[in-house]
């Protein structure tokens, strides 16, 4: 019986649209809770919310084949995002299994981290020779600056999650977007460091990310201008600085080029990792942000 081969790859890009090749597959992402979140942040580039089922959660059984295929391709690190990953009831089992393959990082909003879960996570981390890391998102150093973005009452609950992780011996990286202009300045960072010191965290870790003007954020601040797209002439010689040259994203609907474009069907590259070991035409405006701001979603 002939094996099915269908070619429904996107039409060949015009000459001016640059194509990023996959040099190596270093980072494998999982949209582990789909687009379902317990929050509906006003800057969310995938517009996650409690009712957003564009992508559904991944079970351990669905993730396992990608861990095996990823290992054969030499994946270095595994990232779990959503939505809110801790809405997935399988997450702890998924992390324990992933840590048999390599290091894992979870991107969380910090709201679902009670002390007993943090202690279990610390035990999972302890049992592996690979690192288990957490990134907790917050958007302001106070309830007044954070809550308008992430939701009423979230600031105190995020601090609670950070405190519980820290008490269990897990020291998360606090991830802050430049949703407020001064979040990324020296002074802005100092405010976050002081906040973490007040929580008793003596090794504060902080990552600043730009905002992507897609999804909910496009509604908040306006979408991209038509000129904000990459052209071949923008190339600094190679596209190796872009994460899409070394990552792929697994969702319940297949494998996407990167974590940013999961709400664009044209960002989908195939069903297995092997389907996606090819170039990607960077037609989207979000590609422009990654290039201009030198963004990597990795820690």
């Amino acid at each position: 019986m002939a094996e099915p081969t269908h070619s429904n790859a996107p039409p060949a890009p015009s000459a001016s649209v640059p194509v990023v090749e996959l040099g190596s597959l270093d980072t494998l992402w999982f949209q582990v809770s789909g687009t379902v979140c317990n929050l509906a942040c006003s800057h969310c580039f995938v517009s996650s919310s409690p009712t957003n089922h564009t992508h559904e959660a991944l079970s351990l059984a669905e993730i396992e084949p990608f861990l095996i295929e990823g290992a054969a391709l030499g994946v270095r690190e595994y990232y779990f995002t959503g939505g809110e990953p801790f809405l997935n009831p399988d997450l702890e089992a998924i992390l324990a299994r992933t840590l048999a393959f390599g290091p894992a990082t979870v991107l969380t909003n910090g709201l679902l981290l009670p002390p007993d879960r943090c202690r279990r996570l610390a035990a999972i981390a302890e049992a592996s020779s690979y690192s288990l890391d957490f990134r907790v998102s917050m958007d302001g150093y106070s309830a007044e600056t954070n809550d308008p973005i992430r939701g009423d009452g979230t600031f105190d609950r995020i601090l609670g999650g950070i405190t519980n992780l820290s008490a269990a011996g897990l020291n998360p990286v606090i991830t802050v977007t430049e949703v407020h202009d001064d979040n990324g300045t020296v002074q802005g960072k100092q405010r976050f460091f002081r906040l973490l010191e007040r929580l008793g965290i003596d090794k504060p870790r902080l990552k600043i990310l730009p905002v992507f003007r897609i999804g909910a954020e496009a509604e908040r601040t306006g979408a991209y201008e038509s000129w904000q797209r990459l052209r071949e002439s923008d190339s600094p010689g190679s596209w190796e600085h872009l994460q899409c040259s070394s990552c792929r994203m697994v969702t319940d609907q297949g494998v996407w080029v990167c974590p940013i474009l999961v709400n664009e069907p044209e960002g989908k590259m195939g069903e297995t990792l092997a389907d996606t070991l090819t170039g990607f035409a960077m037609t989207h405006s979000a590609c422009w942000t990654c290039h201009v701001h030198g963004v990597s979603c990795r820690t």
Binding site: T54, L73, G74
Partner: protein
Amino acid sequence: MGQRIPEDPAVHKDRSTDKLTVHRGLATWGEKLVPLDRFREAARQAGRQLSASERSRELESFTERRADPTPVEGPFSKIVVFGGVYSNHFALEALLEASHREGAEAIYCLGDLGGFGPKPDKVRPLLDEGRVLAIQGNYEQSLASGQEDCNCGYTDPRDNHFAEISYGYTDRNTSADFKRWMGTLPERRRVRLGARELLLVHGSPRRVNEFLFASTTPAAFLEVLLEQEGADGLLCTHTGLHWHRKLPSGRDAVNVGAIGRPANDGSTSVWYTVLEDYGPELSVAHRPLAYDHAGLAHEMRAEELPEEFVETITTGWWTTCLEILPAKERARSRF
């Protein structure tokens, strides 16, 4: 595929209802809301769907062996390998004596001769005297080609702040002759130890500034790299922290550590690695090296290098370059 997370009414109460329920039955396609089925059908149609045989071919070609014209040195039965001198000529002198005592047939240095420590030019005559066979680290590449920074590969501004001080001092105090010599060093070497062929690099076989820490370097990743390189073992440095992993295939991956500063373990000793062929087994021993760290601290202060750097030398704990550490290594760190 995929499992539905049930809606939890409790999470809704602190947000206006429309934001939380707007997606009911709908998908987000870019900035538009479309019926779920429409998005899923478009997603189903998108991308490639290769046959099983095409997939195998893709996997094979993605991980296929790469030709490497690097000549193979040796064979030896016992070698000493170290990295990260960071201008610590006190430790380098102690290393040469230790290598002599070990009975090493060859001494290899995996790069980063300068940075952090004082008087970089004092390193060169010691390398000659010990007939040390070196490769370029990111420091040698940057200094030899007149770059403005060390290309250390840090991503956090706190790490980069001290990296700039370190590189600026080293750049100003390294002679033109030494820099030229650095430019003549190879980027990698291959060494035969018994029946094994070892690949020697600074960061990783792919990038001079890639950090291979124990807790973020999976065995499967190392197997693919070594398969592509056609080598039985990998020797690297760059992180400043030593480790050894025996891979399922029998290959060895070794970070040989650094002799320029302590291994962030509260001891003032630094670390080098002895590799010896035992037929079926490769013996890999990380050895602590005591040296005149008080003399180094004195000279660093005289050169007005940052007190943070001196503190690391006198306490054994890193005070800088901490943000690049993965979770496990950072948890063991004092700062």
